[in-house]
Symmetry: D2
Subunit: 327 residues, 4 copies
């Protein structure tokens, strides 16, 4: 029997005209295949007939598989919300082909059937957790064990240390100032360097095609157990992206006493002012998320399509040397 | 009892005035500590009194530790020659501080004593092996199991497939032509892209501070199990360095029929024309080399010193925002 | 007779302990040389005895030379305030050697005497003017002729089009958002490209060592009649800095209707929200500023010192080929 | 009367099947328009009926316009051969759209008619001349006035100093060695830096889209009076492309005594070993070449097409802020 009996649907909010038809088709098809279907509140309102919506955390707890309808942005949010539940995700992309959400709505029934029948590839994508801490002279404490799964929603007020999760990147950056910020970087407690820049991007392999790419970082294979540190507009010639083991504990110590000009952003979506908290500790979460792709998924084909690589596979190879300007 | 009873000495050739005094001090000190000392032919002639020299492979077989006297270049050669023997290496740098050879000759007796007494850090540094193959239509064969240790010296004529080893990098590059070469890259059998460029650097983390750095690649932590692929002057805007798992099998297929304009170089030292062989397969070797450092070895301190990082650790942090041009 | 009879002094505000002694020495020395000395309000309060301070615009109108005491930041502000007056500037750097303020306070009397006696080099450094305009469907008007000199202070409310001046750069960038902005670039009315990024830096040659350097731009010689356009973290691989003739008229058209997330910053100091104004037009000002250096001024020596270039001039050249890792 | 009465045709050699039909159409059409048509030997043999071929220098002397049939590579060679004659060039591109040869053969009659009738845009594209000199202690002599036009063919043996011309770039680079070369750069007699690298590219604005682009250089507008210096794989983090005034005199002093490992290449086509000559002096030629384009020629449109810029002009601008990964 298929391991996927209860299927969750999590739709992009605020875009019912585009999400609705796909959600309706999904619900109908999955029910016709004998699956139990649970929806988040957004999707529930769009199903035919409308259903009762569950909190996202409940989807994580009760489903064998969650289908995310929207795009990479929607999938990033879903991954953060479902981190720790261990439920696999699959993404349907309503817009352009995504890095994460790589199913087209056109063939959704056929592709989902294949996945339900086991014809899929599963990737473990590591996530980051950021803790923002005070800097009143105390040593940085060993990071508390994180609750796994994380509480959803997060408590208000936020605890200190505060765990924030990210699938792409944790970015420490200037805020409401045209000037640079100054900070020191430590890896596993060892001083790396001090820099003046607009900030720093700490990215997973998944995030290496997002903001880290914009900042000049390398492309990390999704299965690599590594993190990359990419400075944003460093005011020096001698900066270069770093790639460190996935087990590294990264600490950014903001210099100075005006932390209002520093923000911490996760996946470009969660945006926090550290206030008087001046140390940001970033590590991998204990558990990666599970991302499913249809069989035949080709990471490099997506890179070629998304990044404009001109890499047509040569048919005939008759020109071993090529001038820079050719006829 | 110390695990290091028989110590090999391997000196840089062609530089007796600088190598001689250090070798003589080393031999005298190690013998005074009751160690058996074996020398390669270069070092043997410089010892006081001169000793009988052994082939490098014999050093690898008979020694518990090999002390390399010269610099990073000497250590690269020693690593390739001793790959597979499993003997740990330690490097004394006669010139500027090296990335690999990080012991100063000034304090050599004291530092060596610490290492003999067990006060050292051991790093496993992965190495690469390149096989160059014909391209007469046959599929690329599964790589033969490499003899481990590799024969020393390598047989003449070279076998096909030919195993070449590298600690820093395998570089496939144009030769005796001002024009570009054209090739395709495959990783684990999957097509990545086709490019026109001056070549490509496939580097270990160790090599990420060598040629790959010059080509714009990221800095990989030495313990990261990864390889980086850095194109040399690609004629496109859309190229970006790749970082892939250390287990990856990388294949470069040279396009065209004029392979005289393509060379394969390992560590900038072994330089081979592939002749009619048009596929280059690069993987990690089965065993890394073992590199010893004195306790307290700080990778980032070496980076700061060697790469001109201005990263003084700020004393007082009183300037949270910094203009780009400041008083 | 020296052309410099009336000398203005313009000091960095907010730092009397460091500025005071130099201002006092300057006033005393210049008066001993028979010069009339005029001070801005900051410097006037620090002279011995305190003098009456003049508005900066009055300094521009009445002085033959203005000595700026502070650093590059102070000189940037002075240049913008005095743009259009045609008065030459010389900068004393209280901190580290500056790109612009290159006189040390230690030898200020001797160096100034040489300049008073005509032993100086004069550079014309071009400046930028930015006009921010509404985008309610009307064609971009031909830019109004700018008043030259510009009114000081600028009127409040600001006119539309609004002239802002910069010696380093005009930067159009995201503000209070972690997300990208989207805009089109036109040069001399011709569409160049559309991009998503954190912003764009339009820099003079003077500014090519400031923010544009951080963004990956080239180093432009100060006398080059050119501007450079450097994108800030563009989300594409195919972006590259542009260098265009100094006479170019550059237009940035912000896309979308939420201009609160876009700011225009000049020299990192003047920071403006374009509000409902959505087109930014940037050109050179009609007149450059005049910057004096002591004779023997060496632009490349400053670059080597400031940018950490290891460029020691080789003494003996005995090594034509160099391995990447050497002894 | 049109200023273009005598038209030269200069075809790519070695590709008669592709060049022939276009040459035949060109000759027939130009003669039908009453023009005198002169051909280089390659084109002459392809005309119908075959005609007598003239030396390229004779074309330069006798023609009012030379039509180059081939591609950018053919046009580069034509520009070097015709440098100094002052004859305008127009390029027909038999392959992909070129940066220089931008006429399609499909509409060649109509487009040429427009040019003959004066509906064209003329660009002055600056060229470089390189002189290679001995370094036996003598000061670098003031460069001899170059013969203008240059002799064609160049004398054998080559004179010292030797003038070599280039439209794209003069490249000083390693040759038959995997190792770096070491050299110093001087601009207008002032020391800039010493570097170890694979070489350096000195490019015109025209060449900024050729090898200099591959090396990471900026894009210079074709009409900018400037040169760019781009290092090839420099072994330092602190290198950055330079842009200097077009009037600059650039000197590269090769360090060391093994000049066999250094070559000087112009436009990727002329390749010279400097032998015992160890200084390379590069300047603009006295006269630029004249390049004609059809009216409406759009430099940025060509950049977008050739460089894969995704710059579609947005139709509707309703998204002021964009997440890095979007639906």
């Amino acid at each position: 029997m298929s391991r996927f009996q209860t299927i969750g649907i999590l739709g992009k909010s605020g875009d019912p005209d585009r999400v609705g038809p796909t959600v309706a088709r999904l619900v109908a098809h999955l029910q016709s295949r004998g699956r139990a279907v649970l929806c988040d509140p957004t999707s529930a309102a769009l199903a035919q007939p409308p259903a009762a919506g569950l909190a996202v955390a409940d989807l994580g707890q009760r489903c064998d598989l969650v289908v995310v309808v929207g795009g990479d942005g929607t999938l990033l949010g879903a991954a953060r919300s479902l981190a720790g539940h261990g439920v696999p995700l699959v993404g349907i992309n309503l817009g352009r082909l995504g890095f994460l959400a790589d199913l087209s709505p056109d063939q959704i029934e056929g592709t989902l059937d294949l996945i339900l029948d086991g014809a899929y590839v599963e990737e473990a994508r590591c996530m980051l957790v950021a803790q923002v801490q005070t800097a009143e002279g105390e040593p940085v404490p060993a990071p508390d064990p994180l609750p796994d799964p994380l509480p959803d929603p997060l408590p208000d007020p936020l605890p200190n240390p505060l765990p924030l999760t990210a699938l792409n990147d944790v970015v420490i950056h200037k805020w409401t100032t045209p000037r640079m910020i100054e900070f020191e970087t430590y890896i596993d407690g060892v001083f790396v360097n001090a820099q003046r820049s607009d900030g720093i991007i700490i990215a997973t392999p998944t995030g290496s095609t997002a903001y880290a790419l914009s900042g000049g970082g390398p492309l990390l294979h999704p299965t690599l157990d590594a993190l990359t540190l990419v400075s944003i507009c460093p005011h020096t010639l001698s900066n270069r992206p770093l790639v460190v083991p996935g087990s590294s504990s990264i600490e950014i110590r903001i210099c100075g006493f005006d932390p209002g000009h520093v923000h911490v952003t996760c996946d470009g979506q969660t945006n926090l002012s550290p206030g008087a908290r001046l140390r940001v500790l970033v590590r991998k979460t204990a558990r990666p998320i599970r991302l499913l792709h249809p069989e035949g998924h080709d990471h490099y084909a997506i890179l070629r399509a998304k990044l404009g690589w001109g890499g047509h596979q040569p048919q005939a190879a008759d020109q071993p040397q090529v001038p820079r300007t050719s006829c």
